[in-house]
């Protein structure tokens, strides 16, 4: 009788532990997914802004065709990479970021363009979108780290293995050559 109760109590405690750990994993995974959707929103915003930007710049600096084309191509590639996995997308976005910053650096040389209200508004949007991408990336990576820690550490790793919680992938834009901000000299 007593032995039975003790065994039952142990089973219940283990069960509760399992449920708590399982729920914790689910919570972290949802948090990570939610953070990813934040990045997605900002990337989409970036893709939407670029055609507008390219058109505006074209009006003032039409002979910077190479730079403009590079941006358009990079944007199309980035758009094509949507949904193909974190790594592929990160690479395409990294390239786009590089092309964009080159374009903005070029724009510095055109005072008329810099004074254009439309361009200024676009610039504010773009600057902020770049920031938002960076911040949502930062939040996503923190979420991935938290989740991955849980899936690797004992005892939650046992449960993660049982219910096949896969590790999250970091969103890294560190393609060093691409990320480097070009220096402008006058």
């Amino acid at each position: 009788m007593v032995v039975g109760i003790v065994i039952a109590a142990i089973v219940v405690v283990i069960l509760i532990g399992l449920i708590v750990i399982y729920n914790g994993l689910i919570r972290l995974r949802n948090q990570m997914k939610n953070a990813w959707s934040q990045i997605d929103v900002q990337l989409k915003r970036r893709h939407d802004l670029i055609p507008n930007l390219v058109e505006t710049v074209k009006g003032y600096a039409s002979h910077e065709r190479e730079t403009l084309e590079a941006v358009t191509n990079a944007r199309n590639q980035a758009q094509g990479a949507v949904g193909k996995g974190v790594g592929v997308q990160a690479q395409a976005e990294g390239a786009l970021g590089g092309a964009l910053s080159r374009l903005l650096a070029v724009a510095e040389a055109y005072p008329d363009l810099k004074a254009n209200q439309n361009f200024l508004a676009l610039q504010e949007e773009l600057t902020s979108t770049e920031n938002k991408i960076a911040f949502s990336r930062q939040f996503y990576n923190d979420a991935v780290l938290g989740y991955n820690n849980k899936t690797q550490m004992f005892p939650s790793n046992v449960i993660a293995g049982m219910f096949s919680f896969k590790e999250g992938e970091f969103f890294e834009l560190e393609a060093p050559a691409e990320r480097e901000v070009p220096k402008v000299s006058f």
């Binding site: 610039q123 504010e124 600057t127 902020s128 920031n131 949502s136 939040f139 780290l145 820690n149």
Partner: protein, 400 residues
């Protein structure tokens, strides 16, 4: 981040309980002194506190915003401010975009309000918007978002209410005791006189000490929150220098906020009260000294809580810790980012900012703006009935 919110909650409950204890002691005494029954006093104190809390909970943000004369702005009113708030919303992982308010006041200050993150609002003064560059504004907004995210707003509101109730009750009771004790009680005389006088003295001492004690607890809570919000802002922005230089500008400014209220002082990013004409730097008690906050932020080697804590310990030679230990565990190293350049696109310089903000304030006051061909901007007050107006520079006549 979540651990930190949880540990905050426990610590807050403890401190609020301490303040509530003070209130109950007062109630107990009132009951003994006036009703002859401690329980009645307790009930009176609890009812006063309860009503004030309910009002503050449901209407606190509206009251606060309206006595500050804050006006809500939309995205198009100032895209830069809106974007910065949205950036910080993303960095802090909040689910809801807070409302943004602006206060037409040349003093530099900001606060966050709202009982939960879903119903939050941030308010900044026009002076702040005008004098801070993008990085600095980001730091300040990050600090306010941290208050929202760490659930500081509700805690500080509730503590403020408790403090208010204690101060109010003890003020009335002191006066009643003093005058009532002098005139009314003396007549009753007789054997109870000795005990009456002792009770009276204890009461007066208690009524003087209670508000001070409550205030000390309040300030203790509020200061801890400021450190934590600074640390969170650095973590969100990855750029502590932004907040540091913003605080420096705030500390150096001598303009005083017109609409500030004593009870609400801890809600602002820096204490809005100081002697007229003096700098805000180190006179505050609801906030840690600005110079110290700046020094801590400037000596951070990275952007994580651990970096802030180390900086805190090195600024206070005695060591110590500003961040709950549970929030420090399990965070990796976080690097800093580089400054964005002022005057560059998306980061207007001082002149453009001043124009932008004054345009905004004119618009918010329902003034019409006419751009004359000669480059002059004509502001037409909302109550003007005249249909034509002459530009003072070039003489062109415009129709309103």
């Amino acid at each position: 981040m979540w651990e930190q919110i949880r540990s905050n909650r426990i610590k807050s409950i403890f401190l609020v309980a301490a303040m509530a204890g003070v209130l109950l002691v007062i109630g107990f005494f009132i009951g003994m002194a006036f009703f002859g029954n401690p329980l009645a006093g307790l009930i009176v104190a609890l009812i006063i506190w309860g009503i004030m809390s309910l009002v503050a909970y449901f209407q606190g943000d509206n009251i606060f915003l309206s006595i500050s004369k804050a006006r809500k702005i939309e995205r198009d009113d100032n895209p830069r401010l809106y974007n910065i708030v949205e950036e910080m919303k993303i960095a802090s992982g909040l689910a809801h975009m807070p409302d943004i308010y602006i206060i037409d006041d040349p003093a530099m200050n900001a606060f966050a309000t709202g009982r939960n993150p879903e119903k939050a609002a941030v308010a900044v003064t026009s002076g702040l918007l005008q004098k801070l560059n993008r990085d600095e504004l980001q730091g300040v907004i990050g600090h306010e978002m941290a208050h929202i995210n760490n659930r500081d707003v509700l805690l500080m509101t509730m503590c403020g209410v408790l403090l208010g109730a204690i101060v109010m009750i003890s003020w009335y009771v002191t006066h009643m005791l003093f005058w009532g004790g002098m005139s009314g009680r003396r007549g009753s005389g007789g054997g109870g006189g000795q005990a009456q006088i002792i009770l009276l003295l204890v009461g007066i001492v208690l009524m003087i000490l209670a508000p001070i004690l409550a205030q000390l607890i309040y300030f203790a809570i509020s200061r801890k929150r400021e450190y934590l919000a600074d640390a969170s802002s650095a973590q969100y922005t990855r750029y502590p220098e932004g907040l540091a230089s913003a605080l420096e500008k705030l500390g150096g400014s001598t303009a005083q906020l017109q609409t500030a209220n004593k009870a609400l002082a801890p809600m602002y990013i820096t204490n809005p009260f100081r002697k007229k004409g003096m700098a805000a730097s180190d006179l505050s008690s609801t906030h840690p000294p600005i110079s110290e906050r700046v020094r801590i932020l400037r000596s951070m080697g990275g952007a994580s809580f651990a970096d802030y804590n180390n900086a805190y310990a090195s600024v206070h030679q005695s060591g110590g810790s500003a961040i709950p230990a549970s929030a420090l565990a399990g965070t990796g190293a976080i690097g800093l980012r580089a400054a964005s350049s002022e005057g560059a696109v998306g980061n207007p310089g001082k002149l453009e900012r001043t124009r932008e903000v004054s345009d905004l304030m004119w618009r918010k006051n329902n003034y019409k703006t006419i751009n004359c061909g000669c480059g002059t901007k004509l502001r037409v007050p909302p109550n003007v009935k005249k249909f034509t107006i002459k530009c003072p520079h070039c003489g062109t006549t415009h129709t309103v």
